[in-house]
Amino acid sequence: MLEPIVRLRNVTVHRGDRPVLRDVNLDVAAGEFVYLVGRTGSGKSSLLKTLYADLPLREGSGVVAGHDLRKIKRRNLPALRQRLGIVFQEVNLLTDRSVAENLDFVLRATGWRRREERGRRINEVLHAVNLPAARDVMPYALSGGEQQRIAFARALLNKPALVIADEVTGNLDHETSLETLQLMRELARKNNAAILFATHDRRLLEHYQARTLRCKDGVITSLENPLP
């Protein structure tokens, strides 16, 4: 069996100094799709932040994409983050530049030196999210769903091993949410990327069933039958 992308053992997730989740044991295999559900404030975001080392891991052990979260140093953060694709509810596209410039910015930040290669990769990801014409458009000229697809395209740029999606459909209507989810699942499968998809929208689970974890009352439980 392949080494899992995420392996957490007896982890306590802290928000500030307060523990929000205890005894977290979690394995995510390569290419696997996992839902993470729970109410706002249940610790979903804190768990995800711990995974990309935006929150420190203080108790338990954790390995993400080959990086030990207990031992990770500041200078190793870039290496970890480059294996991940992170997408938020707030789209976080840079509003002062076009879609292509947004993507180019990330590629340059992650060491893509050749302009032609960057251009080619930008075209690839824009085609992948079915928005090839959005290249020179400013983010505010796109709809919410389109912006979220661009944010996802941005997350795919460096062929991540794991995509962390934190409430990405929070601002979208139901139909657009479904389209976005479908697209993400397809692309993740094509790229063999695992997805950890945090949402509080239970209706999404009805359409695309997958392994589901729930954060509730300070613990994570696996839902055998997630639909009520």
Binding site: R75, P78, A79, L80, R81, I86, N92, R108, A109
Partner: protein
């Protein structure tokens, strides 16, 4: 890219550099004037009315080779007739025509080197010369050089304090601007952090801006300083005679380089601190 804030930083840095340059030039000028006064410090040796030619010859020989005569200069003998003529010229009178006895004495004058220009050294020099045959008395401007030296030191101290204060103010100003600029760009920086950009990559644009901004501020200050000097030299031609503008050029170059250095360091420290704080807040 050019927000008013960056404009203000450039202008205030230029202003500080200009003041720095001005104070440096002021210090240079004070030092230069003091040195010139000290170099020009004459000791006047009055010879007895009945001194012999041999005594005068020996005194001149003694002074020429003594350590308290400025090297490469010779002691000057001035006889009382010449002294009277020169006094007449200065007073625009004609005492010689009155046919009175010349009240003046023959004198020998010599320049002391700069390290003998302090009062205590001068007293020793005067005593040594006074003990020679045929010497009546020795005069010099007591304490004048000393006073100049003390004033020059005081000026240097005050100027040094002002410069230090200005540097601190500049540092704080730049630091605040960097923090403002970084927090205005925190989304940009957060994005870079999340996609895995290194600190070097994140800080590069700020450091480039620091270099250009420092250069611009330095050149502005240098231009202002040159303009001030030029105007001053026209107004007070004595300044121009004191030196040939090379020191001004050196100061202009220095404040430009200093502008780049100060700005670069301030930005560097500011950016690093900001990035580290973001992590320390978490860990």
């Amino acid at each position: 890219m050019h927000t008013p804030n960056k404009f203000y930083v450039t202008v205030s840095l230029a202003l500080v550099l200009f003041l720095l340059g001005l104070t440096a030039y002021w210090a240079y000028l004070a030092d230069d004037i003091t040195r010139k006064f000290r170099e020009d410090l004459d000791v006047v040796v009055e010879l007895k009315a009945d001194h012999t030619m041999e005594e005068r010859r020996q005194l001149l020989a003694y002074l020429t080779q003594s350590p308290f005569n400025q090297p490469l200069t010779l002691p000057k003998f001035l006889d009382k007739e010449a002294a009277l003529t020169s006094l007449d010229r200065e007073l625009a009178s004609d005492l010689a025509a009155l046919g009175l006895n010349n009240p003046l004495l023959d004198v020998v004058t010599f320049n002391v080197p700069i390290d003998y220009s302090r009062s205590d050294s001068l007293a020793v020099v005067a005593a040594a010369v006074k003990s020679r045959e045929g010497v009546d008395d020795v005069y010099y401007q007591k304490g004048f050089a000393e006073m100049l030296a003390v004033n020059a030191r005081r000026v240097t101290l005050v100027v040094g304090g002002v410069v230090l204060l200005l540097l601190v103010i500049t540092g704080i100003l730049i630091h605040n601007t960097v923090r403002l600029s970084l927090s205005a760009n925190r989304l940009l920086i957060k994005t870079q952090e999340l996609v895995g950009a290194s600190w070097g990559f994140i800080s590069r644009p700020y450091l480039w801006r620091a270099v250009w901004q420092g250069l611009l501020a330095g050149l502005l200050a240098a231009a202002a300083l040159s303009g001030t000097w030029y105007g001053l030299a026209n107004y007070l031609p004595e300044i121009r005679s004191l030196e040939d503008g090379l020191p001004v050029l050196v100061i202009c170059g220095s404040i430009t380089a200093l502008g780049v250095l100060i700005n670069f360091l301030s930005y560097y420290i500011g950016v690093r601190r900001y990035l580290r704080l973001r992590i320390d807040d978490l860990y």
